[in-house]
Amino acid sequence: MTGMLDLPFLLDVMGRLLAVLPMTLALFILSISLGAVLALTLTWMRVSGIGILDRVARAYVFVFRGSPLLVQMFLIYYGLGQFPAVRHSVAWPVLREPFACAVISLGLCTAAYSAEIFRGALLAVGDREVEAARACGMSGFLLFRRIIFPIALRAALPAYSTEMILMVKSTSLASILTVSEMTGVAQKLIAQTYRTMEIFLCAALIYLAINFVVARLVGLLEYRLSRHSRRAPVLAQVLHE
């Protein structure tokens, strides 16, 4: 232990961690996309008004939010592979891969959390807006596309950005399925060198940077979408008077 700042070592660690950054980002982007599609389906099931669909979606959310992600991952990766029927099915080339299993379980899990966020946002759409649109003769998909979706999207963004950051952190669990991503590489480096603190700080810095970028991007989108509720620029006010 030197106790001093060992810059060459820190740079070396940074380099090794950044080398697997694409893997962490790929896990994140693929699973959040899969999760969003599933979550929209679940939300639709919850508000469909069809009893059985509503109940299935409720059960899904309860199961996937109530159990640890690690159990879900192991169930998909090790649990499904136990059955010969699965091993001989067309899905096996996918379910055999740790990476694919990690993406699937991350996606299934985030879908449950996101579905609740989307449902809350959908409920936040005011009756007045919907009524006004109906009075103008809008209905069905047009009503959804023009009125409900934009309002709900804006309402969902703050909570959804929190969920996205939780997902950035969750990608670290893929290392337990032997996917070589950042936390796994950090653990290997720690086991080799026993310089826990320095390696932790490097990895933490990268994760915090990713979170910061995600939060800023969503914040930017939210800013763009709430143009109408901002005060007009000073020049416009002057011209108006």
């Binding site: 939010r65 159990s67 640890p68 159990v71 090790y78 670290s172 669990l173 936390t183 720690i190 826990t196």
Partner: protein, 238 residues
């Protein structure tokens, strides 16, 4: 082997070990929540402080421990604690690796994470306490600690219960990650059972079911607690 003997409490059954694992999971999470309450209260106090350095320190703590993967934090406490302990042992003439007890490392790691979330819960709850009540307590001459014990804590706890319920659920799930250090909690026990019997699916389904039971039970407890601390308010609303 049928599932009944596999998960039963007989000689070859894993039922007993799974129940012990479940209890260890509850114990780790319980200790973590208590550790987190101390860290969380301190961090909330720092974040509400008028002193800038305290606010910066509080923000740094909550940002880092909410933004970095839980698994990485568990490695930090387990490996970091072990190498600190090993070099301490070296100082006293003991050679080789000394591991931190996995329960301790796990409870501390999950506790510090939970503290970062609890800080936000406490801060929001403190904001919800009526300023006038604190002023009134000050006016009748209560010193700081008495004010804290009689006025602030009871009210903050009442407002914090729903948030603390969420943090408990979060910590419960984080505790499954402590299995990577080898602590025989529910997840690790299920892994051992799955490995030695090759019944992967059955064991992980059993683990998931037991976690769901814990979740459902704790939801119920939080609801009861909320009803209990809110009992002085119900009457007024009715």
């Amino acid at each position: 082997m049928t599932w009944l003997t596999l998960f039963g409490f007989g000689e070859k059954g894993w039922g007993g070990l799974l129940v012990i694992g479940l209890l260890v999971t509850v114990a780790v999470t319980g200790c973590a929540l208590l550790i987190g309450a101390v860290f969380g209260a301190l961090a909330a106090w720092a974040k509400l402080s008028p002193k800038i350095w305290a606010r910066v320190a509080g923000d740094l703590y909550t940002t880092v421990f909410r933004g970095v993967p839980e698994l990485l934090i568990i490695f930090l406490f387990y490996f970091g604690g072990s190498s600190a302990l090993s070099s301490l042992g070296h100082l006293f003439g003991r050679e080789g690796f000394i591991g931190v007890p996995t329960f301790l490392a796990g409870a501390l790691a999950v506790g510090v994470i939970s503290g970062a979330y609890q800080a936000e819960v406490f801060r929001a709850a403190f904001r919800a306490v009526n300023r006038g009540e604190i002023e009134a307590a000050r006016a009748v001459g209560m010193p700081l600690l008495l004010r804290f014990r009689r006025i602030i804590v009871p009210q903050v706890l009442r407002f914090a219960i729903p948030g603390l319920g969420n943090v408990w659920q979060l910590s419960l799930k984080d505790s499954a990650l402590v299995s990577v250090t080898g602590l025989a909690e529910l997840m690790r026990t299920a892994q051992m059972g799955a490995g030695s019997t090759r019944e992967y699916f059955g064991f992980y389904i059993a683990a998931a079911a037991l976690y769901l039971v814990l979740t459902a039970l704790s939801n119920r407890v939080v609801d009861l607690a909320e009803a209990r601390v809110g009992r002085s308010f119900r009457r007024r609303l009715a």
